[in-house]
């Protein structure tokens, strides 16, 4: 099992979500957060006052999938989150040791 953490542009959430769901992945966790990579922030000036935007709003999607599904899910995320402009984001893959469904006690592949 692998955990995918993808940081994407906010407006891409619906597309990526739909794409992942269509692959049969049943759940995901979404977080609103701020960050930057090589896309730097900038300053806005309004009536002489500076408003610095240094952290940019992003969305993090976390989803745990079975290892054989991994390539397809990665591809779906990348394709749908892509705009070609800086700030498209990154995807990280982390190995998962164990998973348990709280309600039923099912484990590992049965739990995701």
């Amino acid at each position: 099992m692998k955990k995918i953490e993808a940081i994407i542009k906010p407006f891409k959430l619906d597309e990526v979500k739909e794409a992942i769901l269509q692959l049969g992945v049943s759940g995901m966790t979404i977080t609103e957060l701020k960050g930057f990579g090589r896309q730097k922030g900038h300053k806005e000036i309004y009536r002489g006052a500076e408003y610095v935007v240094d952290f940019l709003p992003k969305i993090k999607i976390e989803v745990v999938v079975s290892t054989n599904m991994l390539p397809r899910v990665l591809d779906a995320i990348r394709t749908n989150a892509y705009t070609g402009q800086i700030g498209d984001g990154k995807i990280f893959v982390i190995p998962v040791e164990k998973a348990v469904r709280i309600r039923t006690g099912e484990e590992d592949e049965d739990a995701i």
Binding site: K9, P10, F11, D14, E32, L33, K34, R38, Q39, K40, H42, E44, Y46, R47, A49, Y51, V53, L56, P57, T83, G84, Q85, I86, G87
Partner: protein, 851 residues
């Protein structure tokens, strides 16, 4: 169970429970004449809700057994057997066996135990021992009053904090939540402990509470108990106190709330639930304010200056100087509200009671008085005291002047984001607007107050905050519906003029900015252009922005968090710039673009399927539509839609009246494309007279060049054919263009006109757009100028997205819209300077690199 009141049911159930428990004891061998009872050394009591005779199906049964010091073995045996029977009956039984001293000690350390003791009721055993117990308990309480009060306040605060979260408004906890049964318990306990009352009703003895609407509260309590019984029943006899959505459906059905044209059954049911919850919530607040006044009184205040003689101030409340005024002079109602609002005070209960009656009896007459209207408007537009506005809502004052408000009274919102009913949410936006105007959000977002201060009509923000959701009581799109209701409402309030256009517009589009900021690519210029086109001018943009802000902040932490506001700010800044620059989104431009788009669709309808045409139009920027003649657009579209696998297509138009060929080109954009095309033309001795370059979102480029004809008129076709082939190679980087040009320059017999140009100007405009850096240039015409410029831009690592170039006999002018390697405009000052210098050098022309 359906017909009876909540009270009756719970009382009946308690009676049944009493009989059951007594019979169990008797069955297990307890005789009324048993030794311990005769010795006055034991008493059995019901505690908590059982003590109050308010148990519902799933409630706990709390029992207390007090004794003198030691329970005999027989009694212990009887007790344990009774408990077993109760557990076998699947009842949730809690029990304690304590001496009187142990009880008192425990009560002082365990808050829940303390409160359950407050409702203790004798079940069986020795009555005199019971009376002894009560005397000891209550005298202990009297001594510890202060610490008990502190604990009360702490617990209320914790409850307030826990249950303020949005999920508790959609699925309220009718026992512990805000306005739930717990509020009534706290009122009763307060009355018992601090006012020596036996029950809540006795509080009316105190003059301060003489007008307190206890009957209404009890009615609401009864309703909630009824609902709670249903809940427990549906939950299978468990104690479920949360009105989950699934239960809402079923309870509304079994309580016969039927669907009608405007609301579904569950919606009507929940309106009632919220009506009662809100009533208890605010009644409880009023109660505690009065109670605190007595328990912890403030000294009498001198009358503040300029208070009209009809009023006085007592303990922080506005009251009437003389009773019975309001029936003769109902205008005083509004004045009272106005004074309380301005001074941050509340209204005395006597005033409220009289005003309530007066509103019912003389409301219509009052609402017709112009002076009443203007005071009402003053309240709305300067909401300094939010509690007063809520009171005005509760008392029907707002619905008096705005009858349309009735539709959203107590209307719950079944959504993930909203935590208040619609009417309270509307008032909350006014509160937020007031906060912004007073700078209370400046630590976080100083921008808001800046913008507020610039508003020409700040009062419009308050009006639209109040009315933006007024369409929610109806079916369908509430923005549209609400917008339609506004003119009528405004006229009735005496508002005319520009507001009648602007405010409906704002209501209509109050979700536009939030939706766009979160769902569309803010990096795409088109997004901002479209917003600017809809909004139309800066004043509206500011109003709409602030409206979105107050709506989000008033909705709750999900909608009004920093993250969402950051996106909103970004959209505001970008749309603002487009509006201030005027060209892309002016009404004139918008109209022209619209007309051209329609015309384009008409022409292409016969040749290509409409969806394809529309999809392609979506990829193209507004700038293209603005600056490109219709005929050229048609050609570009034809080329693009018929391109298939080809990488480059063009159409040539040789002009009759001038030695000019127009090249209309469609190809896949690549870095350096422009310089390659220009380079090719240069290679073949063709000069570029003008050029327009537009790159599309999907990676295509639409270019239009006006160039001189090939030198040899006899071999024109051949030359163009060759250029086309070479272009196809060049765009795949399969042509060594630089070499060829270099060699040509070296071979050239005709000297290049290398002179220091008199005309030279390079201006980098980084303020014109959020999306591009603009390079404006002017330079003396020379061979290869454009090529050199293009190459320079390319070598600086910049990408040309749009360009417009024109030339006449002497000079060439051009604007290049560029982005850096990462797809953004240039933010780095040194890079900007380097760009400017580089372009300038090209224009000045260096004699150094000529052979």
């Amino acid at each position: 169970m359906k017909q009876s009141s909540g009270y009756l049911t719970t009382r009946k159930y308690a009676d049944v429970m009493d009989r059951f428990i007594r019979s169990l004891f008797l069955a297990q061998g307890l005789r009324e004449k048993a030794g311990e009872i005769l010795e006055e050394s034991i008493a059995f009591m019901a505690l908590g809700s059982y003590g109050r005779r308010e148990i519902c199906l799933g409630s706990d049964v709390d029992l207390l057994v007090t004794h003198r010091g030691k329970l005999s073995p027989e009694m212990s045996e009887i007790l344990s057997r009774v408990l077993h029977c109760l557990w076998d009956a699947k009842l949730d039984v809690g029990h304690s066996v304590l001496t009187v001293q142990e009880c008192n000690r425990l009560a002082m350390t365990d808050f829940r135990f303390l409160t359950s003791l407050l409702d203790a009721r004798f079940l069986m055993g020795s009555r005199s021992f019971y009376r002894l117990f009560q005397a000891a308990f209550w005298s202990k309480l009297e001594r510890e009053k202060d610490s008990v009060l502190k604990q009360f306040l702490i617990h209320q605060e914790k409850r307030q904090e826990k249950y303020s979260h949005e999920e508790y408004f959609v699925e309220p906890d009718i026992k512990e939540g805000l306005g739930g049964l717990r509020d009534l318990h706290f009122m009763t306990w307060t009355a018992k402990i601090f006012f020596a009352c036996k029950g809540l009703r006795e509080i009316k003895r105190f003059p301060v509470f003489s007008h307190f609407s206890l009957d209404k509260l009890h009615h609401s309590e009864s309703f909630l108990l009824k609902v709670r019984n249903h809940l427990h029943f549906l939950a299978g006899g468990r104690r479920e106190d949360r009105l989950l959505l699934a239960y809402q459906d079923r309870i509304s059905e079994s309580l016969a709330y039927h669907e009608d044209v405007e609301n579904t059954g569950p919606e009507k049911f929940m309106r009632h639930v919220h009506l009662h919850l809100n009533r208890i919530r605010y009644g409880s607040q009023e109660f505690h304010v009065k109670a605190m006044d007595i328990m912890d009184p403030r000294s009498v205040e001198p009358s503040p200056d300029r208070l009209p003689p009809d009023f006085q101030v007592l303990r922080g409340n506005i009251i009437l100087a003389r009773e019975g005024q309001l029936s003769q002079n109902p205008l005083l109602i509004l004045r009272g509200f106005q004074e309380a609002n301005r001074r941050g005070l509340l209204l005395g209960s006597g005033f409220i009671w009289e005003a309530g009656k007066s509103i019912v009896e003389q409301g219509k007459a009052l609402s017709a008085m112009p002076e009443a209207r203007s005071i009402f408007m003053d309240l709305l537009l300067r909401p300094q005291n939010p509690k007063i506005l809520r009171l005005a809502l509760e008392m029907g004052l707002i619905t008096l002047f705005i009858p349309e408000f009735k539709k959203i009274r107590n209307l719950a919102q079944f959504s993930y984001y909203h935590s208040e009913t619609v009417d309270l949410h509307a008032l909350k936006t006014l509160e937020v607007a007031q906060d912004i105007s007073e700078g209370r959000h400046n630590d976080h977002w100083p921008l808001f107050q800046e913008i507020f201060k610039e508003l020409e009509h700040p009062e419009w923000l308050f009006l639209v905050g109040l009315l933006h959701d007024i369409g929610k009581g109806y079916r369908g799109d509430h923005s549209r519906k609400g917008s339609g209701l506004i003119p009528r409402i405004l006229k009735r309030l005496g508002i005319e003029g520009e507001a009648l256009k602007t405010i409906p517009f704002l209501v209509r589009h109050h979700l536009l900015l939030a939706n766009t900021a979160q769902r569309r690519d803010l990096n795409d210029e088109k997004t901002s252009v479209q917003i600017a086109q809809i909004v139309g001018d800066m004043e509206r943009l500011k109003l709409l922005f602030l409206l979105t802000v107050i709506d989000s902040l008033a909705t709750g932490p999900m909608a009004g968090n920093d993250w969402k506001i950051m996106l909103l700010n970004e959209l505001f800044f970008k749309a603002r710039r487009i509006l201030q620059r005027g060209t892309l989104a002016s009404p004139d431009a918008t109209k022209r673009v619209d007309e051209k788009k329609k015309a384009l669709q008409r022409v292409l309808k016969a040749e290509f399927p409409a969806p394809k045409v529309l999809h392609l139009m979506d990829q193209v920027s507004t700038r293209y539509f603005l600056h490109t003649p219709l005929e050229d657009m048609v050609e570009h579209f034809r080329l693009a839609l018929a391109m298939g696998k080809a990488r480059l297509q063009w159409r040539l138009q040789r002009l009759d009246h001038a030695p000019v060929t127009r090249v209309i080109l469609c190809t896949y954009d690549k870095p350096g494309l422009f310089s390659k095309m220009v380079g090719l033309f240069t290679l073949h001795n063709i000069s570029v007279l003008s050029g327009n370059i537009f790159t599309l979102k999907n990676g295509l480029a639409f270019d239009t060049y006006e160039v001189t004809n090939p030198l040899d008129p006899l071999r024109e076709q051949e030359v163009w054919g060759r250029i086309f082939e070479e272009a196809r190679l060049a765009i795949e980087d399969a042509l060594p263009l630089d070499d060829l040009i270099m060699r040509k320059a070296q071979r050239s017999v005709i000297p290049r006109t290398g002179y220091v140009s008199q005309v030279k100007k390079v201006k980098i405009d980084n303020e014109a757009s959020d999306f591009f850096t603009l390079i404006e240039m002017k330079g003396g015409i020379r061979t290869g100028l454009l090529y050199d410029l293009a190459k320079e831009i390319y070598s600086l690592g910049l990408d040309i997205r749009f360009a417009r170039i024109n030339s006449d006999k002497e000079k060439m002018t051009g604007v290049f819209y560029v982005r850096d390697g990462s797809g953004q405009k240039i933010y780095d000052d040194p890079v900007l300077e380097k760009t400017r210098q580089g372009m300038l050098n090209v224009i000045i022309g260096s004699q150094g690199d000529l052979p």
